[in-house]
């Protein structure tokens, strides 16, 4: 009897060990990155991060190959053809930053049918067989109000700088901001301008609306517009409000100057271009046989008063603060979603 149970225990132990031994064996698997666009600093940083992380991963034998492919014209049909070529090339997983949320579904379906793992990030695809690493832009908006509520318990008037009109991201962040204001009724959005995620546009837009506004205590932004807003405020005799930054180099530099000069305090939040590396590790985990939910959320890269210097030092001039993810980060994100 005792012996039998021992045997059983041993068998159970073996069963438990099985998935472990099956894991960590993606050394003969290859992963491809299908990217639709490389024409701005964010995308360039994204591709650089991919190389920085996947290079050593290939060298250490974690995967056999991790090649990046970018389409030349940012067109759906072109990327669909590219994905079909990647299927033919025999990749085991394809990581996609998609030109359209739905336009690639046919090609993604082909890939899934061929037994290929498809992980989409940033520009995600809706095809159910693919994994999605999406950005919670709504929360990015509401987090800003939550931070301001902490700093300014009495509330006051806010200025909202929006992004490019008509783009889904702009609507989402703005909806998040408005939801945050509803939750913290001590704030009121006194004015709203479109800054198109660009410093020069934001500066002009803010300078234009400022004379008509009451006292502003905080500026909520979408990234790429904080520095322009600061310049517009500096040109008046108004007191500098708390401007939420978006991790751009010029924004962080300005914040650092102000911090050194008069102890200016704010926070900065955006998505790190290194999210491509998170997608890489998620694909590796799926190939590894790990249970991964189809919908994952990208953690924000948030910079606060105390880690400003460190992040600024790591940010290239003209670039965006970045972080490259590790296998452990990916496992954390997966665990969180489960």
């Amino acid at each position: 009897m005792k012996r039998q149970s021992l045997l059983l225990a041993g068998a159970a132990g073996l069963c438990l060990a099985m998935p472990l031994s099956a894991q960590a064996d993606t050394s003969d698997k290859s992963i491809a990155l299908s990217n639709n666009y490389a024409g701005n600093s964010w995308r360039q940083a994204m591709l650089t991060s991919w190389e920085t992380v996947t290079g050593p991963a290939v060298e250490n034998g974690i995967v056999a190959a991790a090649d990046a492919f970018t389409t030349a014209e940012n067109q759906v049909t072109e990327q669909a053809a590219q994905i079909q070529n990647l299927i033919l090339q025999g990749y085991d997983a394809i990581v996609i930053n998609a030109a359209s949320p739905t336009g690639l579904n046919g090609a993604v379906r082909e890939a899934c049918d061929a037994g290929i793992v498809v992980v989409s990030f940033d520009g995600v695809v809706t095809e159910p067989c693919a994994w999605r690493i999406a950005v919670d832009f709504h929360q990015m908006g509401s987090d800003q109000i939550a931070y301001l509520a902490e700093r300014l318990p009495d509330g006051g008037n806010l200025l909202e700088i929006r992004g490019l009109a008509g783009v889904f991201v702009d609507d989402e962040i703005s909806a998040g901001i408005h939801a945050g204001v509803e939750e913290h009724p001590q704030f009121e959005i006194a004015g709203s301008v479109h800054g198109d995620w660009a410093q020069d546009v934001s500066q002009r837009a803010v300078a234009g609306i400022l004379p008509s506004l009451p006292e502003i205590v905080g500026v909520v932004t979408q990234g790429g517009d904080g520095y322009g807003a600061a310049q517009a405020f500096a040109a008046t005799d108004r007191e500098m409000p708390i401007i939420v930054m978006g991790n751009r180099h010029d924004e962080l530099t300005w914040w650092k100057e102000q911090k050194d000069a008069n102890g200016y305090e704010t926070m900065s939040v955006s998505i790190a271009p290194g999210v491509s590396t998170l997608a890489f590790w998620v694909a590796q985990q799926v190939l590894d046989g790990a249970e991964v939910p189809k919908d994952l959320t990208v953690p924000f890269l948030r910079i606060d008063q105390d880690n400003l210097e460190e992040n600024l030092a790591n940010t290239q001039e003209g670039g965006v603060a970045n972080v490259e993810y590790t296998l452990e980060d990916a496992q954390d994100v997966i665990a969180e979603a489960q």
Binding site: E73, Q75, A81, N85, L88, N105, G106
Partner: protein
């Protein structure tokens, strides 16, 4: 007169050679492509391009040029992904109206003697605008029959090849075997003599534009069947691809000299060229340039053959 068939055949030699050479190179680089699934993956996105190329061919046949094909195919794709799927009757009506509009454009261009490039360029904005109205954000879903048509798995030969052959055959019959086809090519060859012979040039041009519209609508439906959704910019590349496809396939900008079979081969060649470059691991920055280089090589070959042809004619 006895030279005629050989000239037609000669026109097809270069595109066929180019396609065969590229195909051999792709098979050599990627043996996996040499299979049922492989061929389908290589060529299925070429089917809508081939249809768009044929549409462009009908316009080129009457010495005009259509810069709105890409926008129009996008529009047709948007209609297919929305109305044609949800309320087929209205969808069909919209598409028929669009074809009628295409025919009307052809008539207006002829009657008012307008430059087709300018009119179609203007129309491209109209089509894009309508497409954006229909689908402001990417989305929609294909009619079931379109999806199953584009994903059928016929025995032995993959859908992409079967479809290309059928499309080429239909267009070939229209252009070379029907009186309308002869009339259209005649208008391209010598408008005035066709008119003097008592034919209506207006009718020929209107019909050419209507045929172009029909093939472009088919391209839109095929595209949606493949991608499973549409957006307003989905086929913008098709304008230039279609022109390149016709020329690559042995057609000419003027003179009513067009070859439907060549046009389909041209479209397949262009699609294959992109895959070839991607298998070669050529960096995307260079890919457009390399694609252009392939085009230039093929066209240079054709010029060379044309010269041979002329020398033969003289001899």
């Amino acid at each position: 007169m006895s030279l005629r068939p050989s000239v037609d055949a000669m026109r097809l030699v270069v595109p066929t050679l180019a396609l065969t050479a590229l195909l051999a190179a792709v098979f050599w680089l990627q043996p996996r492509a040499m299979s049922y699934m492989g061929l389908n993956l290589l060529f299925n996105l070429a089917v809508p391009i081939a249809l768009a190329t044929l549409a462009q061919m009908f316009i080129l046949a009457v010495n005009n040029l259509d810069l709105s094909i890409g926008a129009f195919v996008s529009f047709a794709a948007c209609v297919s992904a929305t109305f044609l799927q949800s309320t087929p009757l209205i969808g069909v009506l919209i598409l028929l109206a669009a074809i009628a509009a295409y025919a009307a454009i052809g008539a207006v261009i002829h009657l008012r003697n307008l430059p087709s490039i300018v009119v179609t360029l203007g129309m491209s904005f109209v089509w894009t605008g309508l497409a954006v109205l229909l689908l402001p954000a990417p989305g929609g879903s294909p009619p079931d029959w379109a999806r199953s048509l584009m994903t059928t798995k016929p025995p032995l030969v993959p859908m992409a090849i079967v479809a290309s052959v059928i499309i080429a055959l239909i267009a070939h019959l229209i252009v070379t075997r029907s009186s309308l086809g002869v009339l259209i090519r005649g208008v391209g060859g010598n408008e005035r003599s066709v008119e003097r012979a008592g034919w209506s040039v207006l009718w020929a041009k209107t019909a050419a534009y209507a045929l172009a519209g029909t093939f472009a609508v088919a391209a839109g439906i095929a595209l949606v069947g493949l991608t499973t959704s549409a957006d307003a910019n989905i086929a913008l590349r098709y304008t230039l691809l279609s022109i390149a496809g016709v020329i690559l396939g042995g057609g000419e900008f003027v003179g009513g000299r067009v070859s439907p079979v060549g046009a389909v081969i041209g479209a397949l060649t262009l699609t294959l060229a992109a895959s070839f470059l991607s298998f070669m691991r050529i960096s995307p920055d260079w890919q457009i340039g390399a694609q252009g280089a392939i085009l230039i090589i093929v066209l240079a070959l054709r010029l060379f053959l044309n010269r041979l042809e002329r020398q033969e004619g003289r001899a």
